[in-house]
Amino acid sequence: MAEMWINMGPQHPMTHGLWNLRVKVDGETIVDAQPEVGYLHRGIEKLVEGRTYTQVIPITDRLCYGSSLTWSHLYCLTAENLMGVEVPPRAEYIRVAAIEMQRIASHLMWLAAYSTDLGLMLGFLYTMRDREVFIDILQALSGSRLTYNYPRIGGVAHDVPPNFERDTLRACNYMEKKLKEYEDLFEGSKVFMMRNVDVGLLKKEDAMNLGVTGPPLRASGVKYDLRKDMPYSVYPELDFEPVTHPDGDCYARYRVRMDEMYESCKIIRQAVQKMPKGKWRVVAPRNGPVGTGLGRVEDPRGEGVMYIVGDGTDRPYRLKIRSPIFVTVSAAPKMLIGYKMADVVAIMGGLDMCIGETDR
């Protein structure tokens, strides 16, 4: 049987975002795969060098637009590490509540795209409707639906709106009921289970060696979550458990993300109820010192790291961004080889690719 290379992308209904997957097929079986990225390269690391420290925050929002609060929060953590700024506790709790709501919205967006790809269009309609609940709360908090520009170096931009606690608790209760409905919908569908169980196996040793982090790593059985193991912000005071699954296939990745949504609801309730009164922002110095700063967070897609170098002026000298999906996609060939062409959609969809952060 002749082997040939097939291009899937950059314009393809499966590719969420712009990237190209070249697969070498022998009949219907995949023999080799080469992902190609770079169609959305905007040169963010160079753009940052011409802006002041606060002007960079809207740019970092647009790194991964599916979960944009995580990236602007990561940048603020890094800049605060460089400048040595102490954030007041009320701001930390507001940040954590907003980030966990963003995590639920990001996972719901993933579930919408994933179920559409697998042919279950009803999943798209239900999850998008429920995502609007959290987007409304975040819009009342920050003023925008998608790229919030809400964290600042030294706190958050402004205080929470009235009835924030009531609305958030109502949203968490609503979400937990709906998650049970989704489990019935997806796991009761025989086609969904057939397309996910035992497909796209990623072994533990491969995942650790190739630098995979986040839900794909935890779905291969490694219990590592930055919020618990090298915690930042007020996560040490909140009670939750990182979720793992021993199997390493697409069903495991789906299961990890669903359970993470339950854990996020728990974290939001605790954060909103424990929020102290006080200041929500400390003014940071205009000029950054000479030195370096480092920040690491647990993004919904993996481990995000930023490394900033300051040179005494009011603009950063160098900002380096580590994107979790950039490294996870390079591990894709290991997961694809040996499966059929129709499995590509389930395997690559299960990684939750957001090309904004891959290409920067």
Binding site: H41, G43, N209, G211, V222, L294
Partner: protein, 169 residues
């Protein structure tokens, strides 16, 4: 940084730094100094569980192999390249999950010869990150399996993140 809460260490890691009465950061520094006495310098503890060290570029591959096999640093987090006035610095952030440590390892190269050995044979995750440093900053990695441009078009002529880049075409 806030205090560490209760954490369960990653399963399946073998604890090669076995003496439990010492501070893990000090043990790491001592292990590096014992094995690479002349080339590792300049230690600094940056925070809880974060250590910085400098190493000369000829020993980087041996040091990474030692970190992975003997000390249990399974995860390469990030490879960054920074350009200063008189040198290039390549910064490796390596993490150990079992011990909750992060090591920031800095290598320096002269301005006219920005090349260093590739560590993609030690950690597979270094592959694309080194290609990106080559693409945007122009650092050459020796013995890399496929050192090509990854983010910019293949026929692009410049390395945009250098300080003397003036907008290209």
């Amino acid at each position: 940084m806030a205090e560490r809460g209760k954490s369960v260490p990653a399963q399946g890691m073998d604890k090669t730094l076995s003496r439990v009465d010492d501070v893990p950061e000090e043990k790491l520094i001592r292990a590096l100094l014992d094995n690479f006495p002349n080339t590792v310098t300049d230690f600094k503890k940056l925070g809880k569980g974060v250590v910085r060290a400098s190493i000369e570029r000829r020993d980087i591959h041996k040091a990474c192999l030692f970190l992975k096999d003997s000390l249990g640093f399974e995860h390469l987090s990030m490879i960054s390249a920074v350009e200063y006035d008189n040198r290039f610095e390549i910064v490796y952030h390596v993490a150990s999950w079992g011990h909750n440590l992060l090591l920031e390892l800095i290598t320096t190269t002269p301005k006219d010869d920005p090349s260093v050995d590739s560590v993609s044979s030690v950690w597979g995750g270094a592959d694309w990150q080194e290609r990106e440093s080559y693409d945007l900053m122009g650092i050459k990695f020796n013995n890399h399996p496929k050192l090509e441009r990854i983010l910019l078009p293949q026929d692009y002529l410049y390395h945009p993140l250098r300080k003397d880049f003036k907008g290209g075409d």
